[in-house]
Assembly symmetry: C2
């Protein structure tokens, strides 16, 4: 008998009908001869409504109380899901994060899981009962309710799978899995069957937000393979797991894109130790989230530093950056929106040269100008004009043969 942990996201339990659908999937999994733990999120929209309520009573709601409030969202879903399974003739019980033994630190609204004691879960599983656990929440050692922040339910599922040494961990969502590129942009994009943790991490950081990086990192750390799949059909999804030789045969796994970017260039920055640090410390203190940073080699004692950020972050720069530029003795700042990032990701590029050349050639043929380049061990990212991003994605997708099955 296999032990399976499933996780149903907010859209998968967004209405009573969808809860019944999830319930029947959970029950079917048990009836195939498995022990099942299902982690559920708040019904979609519920968390936003709770946040709205909190704003109606306080401009700056206490974080401890925010956690008490938000935790009701998942608590509602676990009760409804267990009821729905029982109504179908199954036997299910619900557990809050605290009841499930999920111990966290005391950092409210973004707590980290410190430990899981799945004593209660095990007890019920041994009795043949399906256990429905509230995602996204836990409690401190003092018994105070905490929540895990964005993507917290995925984290709950993966952490429970790790602690129970589950055979499978299935993350149900509203997409079929991870694609070689966004199918709305590249019609020939296809679902990836197997992907390595690191590849998914690079794809996620490049705009393919199937899961929060945090959960993937956790799964990687504890080596918990999981499958991302849709709760609305029976298709197999994408299995995410540790690299292995067969995975490495593929040079490029996918192309991910991120629109709505902006770039900022600071010119003639004195090329002295500590200058870059002063700039980026100031940005961090202002809460500006930076993506790609590029600094070229210095010419005649000064250099240009560029970075990209989400266009919505531009406002935060305002006067702050001018002061820093003055302070470090740089010449000027230019800001430019309307750009996008395209990344190609794949573990295989570690051992295969020529990936960059293939990408640049493909873009060049399409007359697409590359404004910035940034690379990691398994990723090459380029910044281009946002208007050309769809064309670029299709060219790159084709250049790496991602549409053809032969590439697998």
């Amino acid at each position: 008998m296999a032990l399976i942990v499933q996780k149903y996201g907010g859209t998968s339990v967004g209405t009573p009908d969808r809860i019944r659908n999830a319930a029947s999937r959970i029950l079917a999994t048990q009836r195939e001869g498995n022990s099942v733990v299902a982690v559920v999120s708040a019904m979609s929209g519920v968390t936003d409504n709770l946040i709205k309520l909190s704003r109606a009573v306080s401009d700056q709601p206490t974080e401890r109380e925010m956690d008490v409030l938000l935790a009701t969202g998942e608590q509602t879903t676990i009760a409804l899901t267990a009821m729905a399974i029982n109504a179908l003739g199954g036997r299910a019980i619900s557990l809050t994060g605290a009841q499930a033994g999920i111990l966290t630190d005391g950092i409210h609204t973004k707590a980290k899981i410190a430990n899981i004691t799945p004593r209660q879960i095990r007890k019920y599983l041994n009795d043949g009962i399906i256990v429905i656990v509230a995602g996204f929440q836990g409690q401190t050692i003092q018994g105070t309710i905490t929540t895990l922040g964005r993507g917290g339910s995925d984290l709950t599922a993966i952490a429970i799978a790790a602690s129970l040494k589950a055979h499978n961990c299935e993350i149900y969502t509203d997409v079929d899995g991870v694609y070689t590129c966004d199918p709305r942009i590249v019609p020939s994009a296809r679902k990836i069957d197997v992907i390595a943790y690191d590849e998914l991490l690079e794809m996620a950081s490049s705009g393919s937000k199937v899961m929060q990086s945090r959960s993937v990192e956790f799964a990687k750390k504890f080596n918990v393979p999981f499958e991302v799949r849709s709760s609305f059909n029976q298709n197999r999804g994408t299995i995410v797991k540790a690299e292995n030789p067969s995975l490495e045969k593929v040079v490029v796994r996918g192309v991910s894109i991120e629109r709505n970017q902006a770039k900022v260039t600071i010119t003639n920055v004195p090329d002295t130790p500590g200058t870059a640090s002063r700039i980026f410390t100031a940005l961090a203190e202002a809460g500006v989230i930076i993506d790609v940073i590029v600094q070229n080699v210095s010419v005649s004692g000064t250099t240009d530093i560029s970075f990209t950020l989400n266009q919505d972050e531009l406002d935060k720069l305002s006067g702050m950056l001018d002061a820093v530029v003055k302070e470090v003795g740089a010449a000027s700042i230019t800001k430019q929106g309307g750009i996008a990032k395209l990344s190609v990701v794949g573990i295989g590029m570690r051992t295969h040269s020529g990936v960059a050349a293939t990408l640049f050639e493909a873009l060049g043929k399409g007359g697409i100008n590359i404004q910035m380049i940034s690379t990691s061990e398994i990723k090459i990212a380029v910044i281009i004009d946002e208007a050309k991003i769809a064309q670029a994605a299709n060219l790159a997708h084709e250049a790496f043969g991602l549409a053809s099955d032969a590439a697998v």
Copy 2:
């Protein structure tokens, strides 16, 4: 420094604005130099919505899960109330029933409080923090969430007041207190300043539903005085406490009425041991809730038995009663709706004769026919035509001088 327990019902926390109002009252109470624990209900309407949700996923929701679901209602309110107090510059923290140390038996949806360990509450109070406790809920010794059933939040407040030996327990609701009669029917009705537990119990069982009897009985058992008052104004309410000599000077405390009643008469019932038992056991098994029962002395070996019930309960009788009547050998059944019950209640009538005479005389003068009479130690109830209930209430109210201050 006094320790005050306050309870805010669903209408008193029914909107964000009302939660802010409750928050400012709670904070003001602390700033007058008191330690404050506030017990809150679910926002009005929330519980009904949760019940609706449960019906959408299951025809017969599991009671264990119903408790997990319903407990989210009060959990939402505690978080919002604590936030609102903090936003006003106070210091408040919220506790669920489980966190507050409310231990119950395992009878889901109508659990009984077994024990309260207010360790956490005391700790926070000692630190000068206002404690907001979720009403209506607790947990079993195994850590399963339970709810206390109707009127459960009042019960929570009174039980916490008892366990903390609070100086005052204030039950905030949407009425000003307990009245000598319903002011919509008797315009001269006035608020009662002080009433004994037993009097309130008899008033409650006669239609003056300020509080569930269960909570009043609990307060009586543990001798917890409390005040019922409105959260929407600053008026003093009605203090409910143990009888004492000054209370007993008043002969009649109030007049309560209950409309929409029906009476059933079974004629020529053989006057033999066990016959009444067979009739009322059958009614109980059919889930029919009976109010007044009257049986007169037997004439020639048979008697007539009458009882009243809410008109809405009549349907449950249907064929069931005919079978019983046949079985016991009675002659016939008559059912009559359109009647009402009027009760006069007061501890003083124990030692004062003539209360019945005064009531009957007042009704007689008004030409109101009395169909049934039932008495307890501190109550006289009569069944009359529902069309005359307002007239009867005014006559009784006047006959016992309830409008004049001299009666206090």
